[in-house]
Subunit: 366 residues, 2 copies
């Protein structure tokens, strides 16, 4: 039988998974057209609506990881020639721009320093100038730890006939995500961050305005697998067979969502905030420096520059993994070789986890 | 906790899953960049090579269900304007044609009656006439139960500079699939059929000829998520981060493949054949009629017309599910309302399963 080493997951995801979720994953498989599975899908959908804070009927678990959810939105919401405005302040904004381009969009990027967040007044100005059909920003930039404000942007986007799209892969269930209240037209997430479920599904939600765009497309969506005019009917409609859904992954997500709602979103946000404060104090005392714009640091993803003179970060990370089973993430792009990304997501956002992280770091730094 | 009703899975997939595989699925999640996970990926790859009967370095588990694997091949191997020749003798050939079209291909279909298989001499003639850059056929048409011969086709396709693509979603590990010996350039499968693993991954393999096409593309692949020039490096290359792989699903596939190789492919094919003979005898005695061309009936997918006068097939299927927990599949397309698709795949291809199927059918028909 397969052997998996014990790990403490404190990188950029996957995050620690509750034993209940693992148990749910291992339940016997049933058919993807079984009425009992349809009930499970309904449960996943209604719990996702609560976590996304939305009434959107088109709320589903896309059958791929977070990047598939991003691609589902770009492929369905962008038609060839559509003007798209994408914020790039890290890896994941760059990917959105790439995907919008592959979908045929005429892509305009807004680029600022990695670690910074976009000033919404500047974004509104660009929107007013360009009148884009789609505006996308990353709510929680997993490569930099930046927490992007969204509130107050939608009206300007809508005024010019555009759709507002949000990447909330890392933020969902860790900090407030208010799809309806913020006027976000479509958003996607991943299961392996603050939802604390293994990777394999991407929660996606679209409002009626976004679904109108899907329904009125003049061209076929690039992708058959992710085509919401087809897969949408499987989740919300006549339930016609489209593809064979990842049945057991949906069991896991169902249980993960149940645990989240049992805890309560506010309590969960609070737990992330408190664990972050403890971690931030500990890291700062040890000479780590946050690279993220002040006042916009995500609680669940701590992107920090290593103290000077501690030696090769790759070797230190390897020691953390080998000696303590502790995974922290490497820096990406501009932060490669300089930074660590320390995640305290979902089940990992607890005092004892923070203690373990700091003690392990002490052991390899001294 | 989630409750899942007990089911006997004898539809077109998912198939019954071995308890070991469920146990593997529920192992603690580790990171997608963890050296221990890379070892698991290597294990998945080398076992997939054995099951596909190939030395192809580019052999991987695509992070989606079978339809994602199909789309990965069409998106990567078809460039805008490429002439594609696709065999359509059921639902899944039709989907391939749709996907090749979305990838920008100029699609020519060969259409024959559902249930029949393509005569290879006629296919070769079409290949000689059209000189297509890609020829795709479905080895095991899950909507009709037809078992398409492949041997001897590749040379003609290659002679005209084309690639031969095979859908072996339902056949892999149930009947011989000889990627290298048959000269197949690229193929995809699904985990939830004869591999007896829950749905969620699509085994994919491409030879060097196919990878040359990927490397020499003049246009970007439609999809970022499925772009083999990116995801290929994660499985075979510098192991650069692309997307977060579905870690636990890969555990399950690893264990499923281990069990298959422990049994031995020949023994497994033999088991499928024997279970099929017993099922076929039983069904024929009860007045069911195979709709598939004689001599080309798949052992693992039995597409049969119901005996006359037994009443509404939907109600009977519902009784099988409600009273016996037995899932059999509905007919699709031309066979809707007339046929059942009875699967004996992987763990389900055993005497006792066939007895159970026949006894349950007797109970609802009498």
């Amino acid at each position: 039988m397969l052997e998996v080493p014990p790990r403490r997951l404190h990188g950029p995801g996957p995050s620690p998974v509750h034993p209940n979720v693992l148990q749910a994953l291992g339940q016997p498989c049933i058919g993807h057209m079984d009425p009992a599975f349809m009930e499970i899908m309904d449960g996943v959908r209604s719990m996702l609506q609560k976590v996304f804070k939305t009434d959107n009927a088109m709320t589903l678990a896309c059958s791929g990881t977070g990047s598939a959810g991003a691609e589902m939105l770009m492929d369905n919401l962008v038609e060839p020639g559509d003007c798209c405005l994408i914020g790039v302040n890290g890896v994941f904004g760059g990917r959105l721009a790439d995907k919008a381009g592959r979908a045929g969009g005429t892509v305009h990027t807004m680029e600022i320093a990695w670690g910074d967040v976009f000033d919404l007044d500047s974004v509104k100005q660009r929107v007013a100038d360009l009148k884009p059909k789609l505006v996308a920003l990353v709510h929680a930039e997993t490569s930099t730890g930046a927490h992007q404000p969204f509130e107050g942007l939608a009206d300007e986007v809508h005024k010019h006939g555009g759709l507002l799209v949000m990447d909330c892969v890392t933020s969902l269930a860790g900090v407030p995500v208010e799809i309806d209240a913020w006027g976000v037209d479509a958003a996607y997430s991943g299961t392996q961050k603050c939802l604390s479920c293994p990777p394999g599904l991407s929660p996606v939600t679209l409002n009626d305005r976004a679904m109108q765009k899907v329904k009125k497309r003049k061209t076929k969506c690039n992708s058959w697998y992710l085509d919401l005019s087809l897969v949408g009917n499987y989740w919300d409609g006549d339930r016609a067979y489209h593809h064979t859904a990842p049945v057991n992954m949906n069991y896991g997500l169902h249980e993960a969502l149940r645990l989240i709602l049992e805890e309560g979103l506010e309590a969960r946000f609070d737990r992330h905030r408190k664990a972050h404060e403890k971690l931030r104090d500990g890291l700062t005392k040890r000479g780590f420096k946050y690279v993220t714009q002040e006042g916009h640091v995500l609680p669940m993803l701590n992107c920090v520059e290593l103290p000077k003179g501690v030696g090769d970060e790759g070797k230190l990370r390897k020691r953390l993994l080998d000696e303590f089973g502790l995974e922290v993430g490497a820096g990406l792009g501009a932060f490669k070789g300089k930074c660590w990304r320390i995640g305290i997501m979902g089940e990992g956002a607890r005092d004892e986890h923070v203690d373990f992280i700091l003690e392990s770091i002490d052991a390899v730094l001294n």
